[in-house]
Symmetry: D3
Subunit: 169 residues, 6 copies
Amino acid sequence: MRQSDQQLLTHLDREGAARMVDVSAKAATRRTAIAAGEVQMRPETLAAIAAGDAPKGDVLGTARLAGIMAAKQTANLIPLCHLLPLQMIDVRLDADPGLPGYQIRATVTTTAETGVEMEALTAVSIAALTLYDMVKALEKSVQIGRIRLLEKSGGKSGDYKSSDRNASS
Amino acid sequence: MRQSDQQLLTHLDREGAARMVDVSAKAATRRTAIAAGEVQMRPETLAAIAAGDAPKGDVLGTARLAGIMAAKQTANLIPLCHLLPLQMIDVRLDADPGLPGYQIRATVTTTAETGVEMEALTAVSIAALTLYDMVKALEKSVQIGRIRLLEKSGGKSGDYKSSDRNASS
Amino acid sequence: MRQSDQQLLTHLDREGAARMVDVSAKAATRRTAIAAGEVQMRPETLAAIAAGDAPKGDVLGTARLAGIMAAKQTANLIPLCHLLPLQMIDVRLDADPGLPGYQIRATVTTTAETGVEMEALTAVSIAALTLYDMVKALEKSVQIGRIRLLEKSGGKSGDYKSSDRNASS
Amino acid sequence: MRQSDQQLLTHLDREGAARMVDVSAKAATRRTAIAAGEVQMRPETLAAIAAGDAPKGDVLGTARLAGIMAAKQTANLIPLCHLLPLQMIDVRLDADPGLPGYQIRATVTTTAETGVEMEALTAVSIAALTLYDMVKALEKSVQIGRIRLLEKSGGKSGDYKSSDRNASS
Amino acid sequence: MRQSDQQLLTHLDREGAARMVDVSAKAATRRTAIAAGEVQMRPETLAAIAAGDAPKGDVLGTARLAGIMAAKQTANLIPLCHLLPLQMIDVRLDADPGLPGYQIRATVTTTAETGVEMEALTAVSIAALTLYDMVKALEKSVQIGRIRLLEKSGGKSGDYKSSDRNASS
Amino acid sequence: MRQSDQQLLTHLDREGAARMVDVSAKAATRRTAIAAGEVQMRPETLAAIAAGDAPKGDVLGTARLAGIMAAKQTANLIPLCHLLPLQMIDVRLDADPGLPGYQIRATVTTTAETGVEMEALTAVSIAALTLYDMVKALEKSVQIGRIRLLEKSGGKSGDYKSSDRNASS
């Protein structure tokens, strides 16, 4: 492996073994990450959720909570992630009739030595899986896609903003 | 909500409140589920993983293990899932230069009153997120997509096979 | 310690040390437990929840989900509990203007060698704590009380029904 | 929902959806919370615990440890709680022949952006449930009650002291 | 890798990748495993534990409970372990002045398709680490050793009994 | 119990009850701990791992990851441990033909009010157990031993270095 690759695959040590990156020399700064994803389904399935969700909101509410709780479990799920003190987690699910399905977006904030991209991506993924779980009796062909980082700010590596044109709409 | 919808959104009770479905009247039978997903990245990122992975295999090995371990956490992540005794979990990541990126596939088996679709989908999702985590210093625009159920067998609702043409290739 | 006490404090061995009771000689039978509890608050707090809960239902929905998820964590929280395959978990929160506050009730079902009283009681307790958490900015004097087993059926020790007159109303 | 309610139900956003409150603008200060609760039982049950507990102390010791460990799990149990670095957890169980039963008190300390009321209340609740678990073979009518916050100090919202007259005795 | 090795390293598939062994074709039978280990310390440390443990028993009681609770976490700690329904967990710590230190022994029982060796070994290991934790302010040179399987019964691979002469004394 | 013992058994309060030590008056400083242990096996078992590990590295890679992930679970496993923000975790397994078997070493870093000895020791223990799990079909007499603290730096109690002569080789 070339030296340059080695430095970039920061989770591998010089011999290629997995390790948890040392962040002790980095400053704790405020960091935010926004991730997104989508859950695609048949129009009838989308309509059933909209109808079923009316009285109590538990389909989307359950997915939202599952996403929030999963963000707090990120370091237990992603082997080389650091456990970070999350200061805010927000998960939104918006119906998108054009998909058809739901657009999911998660925003996570911390003040720490490393960023919260994985926490935001985990929140989106588990919210999507929970939505899948709640409608799978209706449709088995639901598909989860386009899970990606939209934005990230804070930290030495600089801010990032996805070129994805729907990122911040 | 119409009666028919209510029966299909099985995770909601008559009033629309979330609940864990009662499976006590169902027979415990052998059930298998296969799920898949893909992680799309730039060709250079794929090349760096291939190079970095050579000596010890820890990039793909870490993602694979994370997927296996996450399958066992499914009932803690997806609020209304039942905890099931998983008898086998297999997670594969295959490089796909045409994507470019990795195809991920997870197979899970149980003998239980309900199926293991969510376990297979969770394994794929967390394996994909772990792969993302390991290459995010190289590329932030990695995208996870096409997370879907390929096949499911066992149980009263019958077998399912995705019409996805790459499903069982 | 007298012999009779020793047999009744089944979680202690002959020397008084904690142990997990051996259930391997017991038959796996269907078992259900119903537990209840209440969360007492000022009338204004109850009114604010009712108002705030209208659009999306997330106050009560969050408490309900927390209770369901906690039931699945019982064996990790109560040191000497066995991990059981829960087949159904149902948690209800009903406003009680006379309290004033909420009545919480949890029903849990399994087919196992031992009962699910602790799972039902844990679901009630965590649902109550979650409700507390969501209103604590409004009122710090909210009080959780009367957490108790209402009914239990299945198993060799026979059925139990609380003499509590509100138990099954 | 009126604006004032919305601000007070801080766990709901403007649309009534659950969220984890953003604490990133708050200062990390030392905070303490003391919570209490009680476990009521028949005099014979209390006597059996006292007798059984003599040689090794495992009944009360098990409940105490379960409370301490549960405090560390609070953010995994209460969906919208922040994970906080707990600096001290103390759980006490004192026999109260007048109840008859046990008075439980938990004290938790942190230096963080938000308080530890939920951690103290969770410690009390799980210690109480563990006590219930250990005596349920003796008596099924054991009841857990009066779980409440006694005191809280630190943080911008000011100190709180329960008017409960037994609070600090 | 030779075929024979491959079959014996059952956690690796044909290509050497980690997997969770498929146990779905195996019968669920009653299985027991007994593991042991020891914690070696200076005589003064052993004496301090004995003295400190007298009034409440919390040093050894804490280690014992930690071992019991850890056994239930085995499948979350050991990546390729199956989650099994543990029917009994017993952990003992006995002072051994000749060591000097403590002998730890854990017995675990299940009725399942695979054995509970790892659960018994995990219980011993975490009980030993907890004992270490509780005395580390007294002595940092405490050493944990001889963690091994003493006996195993049930299952197709037959019973096993360690040749260790102190195994069953 | 003498006063001096009581002060040294810091996890016990004045009455001998277990408690989590209050670290709120201590300064958060950078702390590192290095722990080690060994896994002893027959020469043939060591040879089979070496052979089986060649193509993908998953035997040692799995043990390494399990150790890293377990370090993050320390506060959930060891009842009186504080949850600390781990900044780096490194786990190494080196074949030792003279043992024969593997030498395991874990290094953990934090910036916190208390040290990370238990995290390093937990990483070593779980890595060792995972190695055991992966070879137990080959040999049941594998033994884990010499789990000990090699070095610790940072904190008021001063640095520690084991007199163990192989400690830092």
